[in-house]
């Protein structure tokens, strides 16, 4: 078994008393017995929060607007957007990369942290995984919507056509298809497998036979027998093991959509790591945006403690700093290459070009805001965390916008330079996708156990066990209650 202290890598730990306290701060506190805990964690499934209905309807309406904007695009053609030549990709691809980036935090939390035995993942991993799934739903919509002839999207898939022609696997777009479909499938399986024991709990706790039957079906008849747990354990860990390289590969491949091109601002070898870091960064920002309200509304302070917030903040600080480093590398590489076009795009167009203002906002938000988290108090201040989360969430959208539009609008021949301006359809698609996400997420909060009950119980037992054990030699502080 592992220790429960925060990762030593944490730069804040040196000398900060506040942090020392925090390290002693429990992952779970004042936990009641299993029965009560289960009741508490499953309560949201049986009782609807008054605000929920309105939020759900609002997001539903927004999703319908999303549908309408798609309809317009299908009916009229891509011309309904602001895209042009040279800026043939713009909002839709920005949204695509943004959403899929957000999608990375979920798997990161559940897979990476599981393998690293980061116990604090237990309370929030299901939320994060759900976020991943719903983000991926959006992410997979945009590329199809973006096609000039969407009804032929299946031509990107290798199937035996009577035309006798195939996709071109030298292009990164078929890679995308493979990556996104795989990522979605694996995330779904992983999420569902993790859900099974809790669905069983829900089955056995649900008021009324119908609900019990419904949850019962989805629980697949899980009974938590030793045999079940024995295989389940392995399968779950294997999926985590597979998802971990997957999550890295997916955004690397997405980054290749740009990196394999020779456009200045895209044609860069650091893109894969740079994009992966950015993805996790934006993902954690959104996790904050979701976890904080959920924690507040459902009074989950005992399972989602300041420790969790602190760790997420630390991860933001780390990934944010890595991202800042990538920005520097990009600029330096352009300068060092001595290439006229690279230099112009990265050093002149980005900083002084028509979209410079977005570049500077993006840099300020993505590079500076996470630096707040050198201070432990800010790391646990709910308001600060939420605001920073939102800022980064927007900042990362701007990053993709800058990379895509601000590179395309000024390429090699000045004769073809042209500006891009979004139309109402572009805006509707962006807003609508957020609406769809909220819609799905609210549904999830209402009907699915969003805190992994069984894992929390398990953690609780382990912590109790360890603390009992460490108390004897008094090496470690009391942690459970």
């Amino acid at each position: 078994m592992t220790t429960i202290s925060a990762p030593r890598s944490d730069p804040g730990s040196n000398g900060s008393r506040a942090h020392a306290q925090l390290e002693r701060y429990p992952i779970m506190r004042e936990l009641p017995d299993d029965g009560t805990l289960t009741t508490q964690l499953l309560a949201p499934l049986w009782t609807s929060h008054p605000a929920w209905k309105w939020l759900f309807m609002a997001s539903g309406a927004l999703s319908l607007w999303f549908l309408f904007a798609m309809g317009v695009t299908f009916a009229r053609g891509i011309g309904a957007w602001g895209n042009n030549i040279p800026v043939a990709w713009a909002y839709a691809i920005t949204d695509f990369v943004w959403w899929i980036g957000i999608g990375h935090a979920g798997t990161f939390i559940s897979a990476f942290l599981l393998l690293l035995h980061q116990r604090w993942r237990a309370s929030i991993n299901r939320l994060a995984e759900a976020m991943t799934l719903f983000a991926l739903v959006n992410a997979s919509l945009f590329p199809i919507l973006h096609l000039g002839r969407p009804w032929f999207f299946y031509w990107l898939v290798p199937y035996p056509a009577t035309m006798g022609v195939w996709p071109n696997f030298k292009s990164s777009l078929p890679w995308d298809v493979a990556a996104i479909s795989t990522y979605f499938t694996v995330s779904l399986l992983f999420w569902y497998l993790g859900l099974v024991p809790d669905l069983a709990a829900a089955r056995d706790r649900a008021p009324g036979r119908t609900r019990r039957r419904v949850y019962g079906v989805f629980a697949l008849g899980w009974h938590g027998s030793g045999t079940e747990w024995r295989h389940y354990r392995v399968a779950y860990t294997l999926l985590a093991g597979l998802a971990t390289p997957l999550v890295v590969s997916v955004h690397s491949i997405v980054s290749l959509d740009f990196a394999i091109a020779q456009l200045p601002g895209w044609h860069s070898t650091i893109f894969p790591p740079y994009f992966v870091v950015g993805a996790i960064y934006s993902g954690f920002a959104m996790v904050l945006m979701l976890v904080l309200p959920v924690r507040h509304v459902f009074r989950l302070h005992n399972v989602i403690t300041r420790r969790h917030l602190d760790h997420i903040a630390l991860l933001l600080l780390v990934t944010g700093s890595l991202l800042a480093y990538s920005y520097l590398c990009e600029a330096f590489g352009a300068w060092y290459s001595g290439d006229l076009f690279e230099r112009y795009t990265m050093l002149t167009a980005r900083t002084r070009g028509p979209y410079a203002v977005f570049f500077w906002i993006m840099t300020a938000v993505n590079v500076l805001t996470p630096q707040l988290f050198w201070w432990t108090r800010l790391r646990t201040n709910v308001v600060v965390l939420f605001v920073v989360g939102v800022m980064i969430w927007i900042g990362m959208w701007l990053e993709r916008f800058v990379i895509i539009v601000a590179s395309l609008n000024r390429d090699f021949l000045p004769s073809s330079w042209h500006l891009y301006a979004p139309t109402w359809v572009d805006w509707s698609l962006l807003a609508g996708s957020i609406g769809l996400f909220s819609f799905l997420f609210l549904a999830f909060l209402r009907w699915v156990p969003f805190v992994p009950v069984s894992e929390v119980k398990r953690e609780q037992r382990e912590i109790a066990f360890e603390s009992a054990y460490v108390d004897r030699d008094g090496a470690m502080p009391e942690v459970t209650r």
């Binding site: 290798p158 795989t182 056995d204 079906v217 009974h223 938590g224 747990w229 294997l238 390289p245």
Partner: protein, 175 residues
């Protein structure tokens, strides 16, 4: 018979563990335990081996890898080779990403459906379901059940051990 011959309910994991210890000590191995969460510590005592699912998954992954690369090779090199951007038809580096994804996908599917098959899931009904209150096994109760006993004496001994380990109740099916 509708439910196991012997079933005991415990209120804490520790009690369950104690019961299993006691039973194991007296070489009762044909036991099944039920708990709301994973208790790997029981496996050793009951002589449960580590799951072999891993090897199946490896096989699945390899298959996926080969199929994925095969498709790409067939499509771009064998079936309809085209001059694309002055690159060779058999562009190995370009085939890597999709191959990797194919491998992961196949492996994950194997893992998921593998565990369903191994556990015979879905299994909506088991005899224990007939025991009143057994459903709390997924919430806050811990159960031990056993079906095979050399004799009724044997069974009663087991029941005895369970009680002494602090079973809340022990259900014995008379026959």
């Amino acid at each position: 018979m509708t439910h196991p011959r012997l079933a005991a309910e415990f209120t804490t994991a520790d009690a369950l563990q104690a019961a299993v210890d006691a039973l194991a000590r007296e070489h009762y191995r044909e036991l099944e335990t039920y708990a709301p969460f994973d208790m790997p510590e029981l496996d050793a005592k009951l002589g449960r081996r580590r799951s072999r699912l891993g090897w199946v998954v490896v096989a699945g992954g390899l298959a996926g890898l080969i199929i994925a690369y095969g498709i790409q090779w067939w499509a771009n090199v064998h079936s309809y080779p085209l001059y694309v951007g002055g690159r060779p038809a058999h562009a190995v580096p370009a085939f890597v990403p999709a191959t990797f994804e194919g491998m992961i996908l196949a492996a994950s599917l194997t893992a998921f459906f593998g565990v369903l098959i191994v556990l015979r899931l879905p299994k909506l009904w088991i005899p224990e379901d007939e025991i009143d209150g057994f459903s709390r096994a997924s919430v806050d109760r811990f159960w031990v059940t056993a079906n095979h006993f050399a004799s009724d004496l044997d069974r009663d001994r087991a029941a005895e051990l369970m009680r002494s380990a602090g079973a809340r109740r022990v259900i014995v099916a008379e026959d």
